[in-house]
């Protein structure tokens, strides 16, 4: 399973705050649609690495990290306008230090209006949240495999059916305690599975990143 490592979280936090407060991002033209986020002087900025260690305020007067969720209603330069699931509204500021995940570690250029997200970051005086990580459309569901096709799985989640899209060079399976593998041949109909992936707002399907099945469930006979 995952192991997290990163650089000094305080350095990262300082960079994030400074970048947001100065309005100085490393996003190409300053617009999400054309920008590039993913490499900073701090090193890796993928989402796993970003959360490798506790992020503590530099100053006791600085608020602890905040969290926001919802669907993106508009993208204005480097700010995501987000409608929360309880009628609330958040403004998420994406900076050069923001890690972006959308089925993989990626850039803000992949974020679209209509996407769902979870974001974590620092609340700023202007009311925005300077995000240090944004997970776009991420879902983690307990499901049962009901059907297997070459390019997709049919999953039962509660009382709903979900189509899971198999993505070449991305989808992997975790069989019990073994490391994740690209070999999906041991997935079987009827297995319980924990499915981590990215929801597609356009059709409600899920791009599968990892399908974890219980130990023994994928054992070769």
């Amino acid at each position: 399973m995952s192991v997290y490592r990163t650089g000094d979280p305080l350095d990262r936090r300082h960079f994030l705050t400074a970048a947001a407060l100065r309005g100085a991002t490393v996003i190409g033209t300053g617009a999400l649609g054309t920008g590039v986020i993913g490499a900073t002087a701090l090193g890796a900025v993928d989402a796993d690495a970003a959360f490798a260690a506790p992020i503590r305020p530099l100053d006791p007067a600085v608020a602890e990290s905040a969290f926001a969720e919802g669907r993106i209603t508009a993208i204005n330069d480097d700010v995501l306008e987000v409608a929360g699931s309880y009628g609330d509204h958040s403004r998420i500021r994406v900076t050069g230090a923001t890690s972006v995940w959308k089925a993989r570690a990626t850039t803000a250029a992949d974020i679209e209006t209509g996407d769902g997200l979870y974001a974590r970051g620092l609340p700023l005086p202007d009311g925005t949240l300077a995000a240090d990580a944004v997970w776009v459309n991420i879902v983690n569901l307990h499901a049962t495999i009901r059907g297997i096709e070459k390019t997709r799985l049919h999953l039962a989640h509660g009382h709903h059916e979900i189509v899971g899209n198999l993505m070449a060079e991305t989808t992997n399976a975790a069989y019990g305690t073994a490391s994740p593998t690209a070999d999906l041949s041991r997935l079987a109909i009827g297995q319980s599975a924990q499915v981590l992936g990215a929801w597609r707002p356009s059709d409600g399907s899920v791009d599968l990143v990892r399908v974890a099945v219980p130990p023994g469930a994928g054992r070769r006979r």
Binding site: M1, S2, V3, Y4, A47, D48, A50, F51, A52, A53, P54, I55, S65, F67, A68, E69, G70, R71, G84, S85, Y86, W101, G116, Y118, R120, A133, W135, N137, I138, V139, N140, L141, H142, H157, G158, H159, H160, I162, G176, T177, S192, Q194, L196, W199, P201, G204, V206, V209, R210, A212, P214, P215, G216
Partner: protein, 140 residues
Amino acid sequence: MACGSTKLWNGEATWFCCGNAWGPCASAGGGACGTCRSSALQAAWPNASKACWDITRPDLCGEDIPRRGCGSVMKVRHDCSGASVCVTVSDCGPRTRSFCSESTCCDGICRTNRVIDLTPAAFSAIGSLSSGTLPVSIFE
């Protein structure tokens, strides 16, 4: 009950969504306690009630997890980074019995069996949502 330092349990933490939500989570509802929200620092516990226990059955994986009902407060600590978060029990889960012997390791420390499910807000406070599982220790 406070978010204390008395060791309660250890194992794998996973994450789940609940309450009003987008995507496949839209149908999740408020959970067994009726108060669960993805954006709150909350958790699902496998022995939140007798009815809950009958679903999760952690004992089938060798985990005799004690009863802690809705409203109980716990501190969940990432075993490698040391990051921690205080959560309130607001649902029943995870379904421990479905993943007996599954383990998550970091820096040579391995935790076995799913013993707590965190909301996205709580899980992201100590780890990355894209990892799916974390090795944790739980205190109260």
